[in-house]
Amino acid sequence: MTALATSSIARRKAWLRRQPWAPWLYLAPALVLLVIWIYGPLAYAFWLSFHEWNMLPTAPRRYVGLLNYERLIGLPDMKAALWNTGIYLIGLLPLTVILPVAIAILTNELSGRWRDLYRALIFVPLIIAPVAAAAVWRWMLNVDFGIVNMALRGMGLSAVDFLKDDDTAIWTIIWITGWKLIGFSTLVISASLSNINPALIEAARMDGGKEWQITRRIRLPLLSPTIFLLVLLTILLGAQWSFAYIHVLTQGGPLGSTSNVYYLLWQFGFGSLAAGWASAAGMLLFVGFGVVAAGLIWLMNRASFHDN
């Protein structure tokens, strides 16, 4: 086996010496595109962040040093947006991690037909276009005629203007974002649960382990890599997932209560045509992002258990 593998590697090496450019030919189309549309723009955004420019092709790009960054950090909008970004993350975690874990464990032993049916149904929100989802939730949550408020009134409660009240708007956006993801997260956890060796659970049961003990001592530790992954995704992408709903439903309002750093960026860039500001904010975001991701991946490698 080893002999075969080494001989095959040796052969490939000899071959590579003959055509050193071959891998590059295969990689070129994708790499060129990624450089043109992602890394190039990233570098350009970095450059723009030290300049002032109103995005009109004829207008000059004036070098302003760190001014954009200084202004941003002092901006009251930015502080509120950062705070809201935190609320989005904390609000989303129950919907994208905690509830899915609980649901997946509770429904773990459901059998064939039912399992397939439920899987098919809870997956639907994920594939619905975000704008369509925003439209239908706006309709259902309408204060006068939306079905949710009709139901509330039917139960003798007072109607809530979910998207226009600055106390409820952010939670409504969080709910819609979570609604799209809860089924997906549940299925990811279920898939990872079904990878756990059933003999482990059976052995624990034979030893008289209670279900919650089995969950705490066996299931949760073995699920921890998947749980970490979902936490990572939520922290890194959560605020971004909400973006479409903020844009379509509240435009950051009422009174800035639903704006987060991504939305602020968008408003800087295309609302106020301040390319320098938007780029500086984008760079801060990108760096912050990288630091958080690196930290979480480091934690994940240290803390997770593996099922061998």
């Binding site: 891998p23 030919l25 990624l34 059998s111 975000p130 309709w139």
Partner: protein
């Protein structure tokens, strides 16, 4: 074997008690969208869970106000072409990564893997500037340009190709087959399943693409259906029927694909999530 659970287990009742509300919450909004879109204007506020009298008047109204069919056709063209190009560039790049060890391969791979760390909002302004300089604002081509390579597709296919048995490929080499031939005659046909799953995934995400078209669009007949929904949404007020009709049309193709290949769609998304 604990896996072969019978429906009479007490745990099953808990499971149903949890899953029925969850399934209801997941599907009800989609149902409500469809039902509202089929109601006549006089009944639009009805709380009945089905339309008492069905009509297509919301659809004909919506198609009269904005060019819904053109938008749907645009979305279809955009989604198919960008899916095809993303598949093509990903198949080639994945072969490059999976086949060879060469100077800098790890760095390049990391570069591809890290593209998801770059938020759209950071690169949107530079990309918009480039498109504007090329004079392509308000064209379908401009929608396509940044969507011709997908880092996610590359990563997924590298994994699939690396797990393909080396012996088969080596045997083909001995027979004198070129790389090009091995890729298209051996790897691609054998990776049909992951390729199909991937293309569904790419198609759905292209179909639902919204922000890039929003930046580029100026005229109604050169944009995608998501922007069409947005046009009805910005008109504050009472046109719920037509809004739901456009939303239904925008979701229909994806829902139809989902109905046909539901299991594969779920599996491919879940596997993608697990990675």
């Amino acid at each position: 074997m604990t896996t072969d659970a019978k429906p009479r287990r007490p745990g099953d009742w808990t499971a149903h008690a949890v899953m029925i509300p969850l399934a209801f919450i997941s599907v009800f909004p989609v149902w409500w969208m469809l039902v509202t879109s089929l109601r006549p204007l006089a009944e639009i506020y009805s709380p009945l869970p089905w339309p008492a009298a069905m009509t297509l008047e919301n659809y004909s109204y919506a198609t009269g106000v904005i060019p819904v069919w053109t938008m749907l056709a645009n979305t279809m063209i955009f989604s198919i072409i960008s899916t095809a190009l993303q598949l093509l560039t990903a198949v080639l790049a994945a072969y490059g990564f999976a086949r060879w060890r060469f100077f800098g391969d790890r760095v390049l791979f990391a570069l591809v893997a890290m593209t998801w760390l770059v938020p759209f909002q950071v690169v949107m302004i530079p990309n918009y500037v480039v498109i504007a300089q090329m004079g392509l604002v308000d064209t379908l081509t401009a929608l396509m340009l940044p969507n011709m390579a997908s880092a996610f597709a590359i990563l997924l296919l590298v994994q699939a190709m690396r797990s393909f048995p080396v012996e088969v490929i080596d045997a083909a080499h001995m027979d004198g087959a070129s790389h090009w031939r091995i890729l298209w005659r051996i790897l691609v046909p054998n990776l049909r399943a992951p390729l199909a799953a991937l293309s569904i995934l790419l198609f759905i995400s292209a179909w639902n693409e919204y922000f890039w078209p929003l930046l580029l669009t100026r005229s109604e007949d050169k944009t995608v259906i998501q922007i069409g929904i947005q046009m009805f949404l910005t008109e504050e007020g009472s046109q719920w029927g037509p809004l739901m009709a456009v939303s239904t049309l925008a979701c229909l193709p994806v829902l139809v694909i989902y109905l046909v290949v539901q299991r594969q769609v779920i599996d491919s998304f879940v596997k993608a999530g697990l990675r």
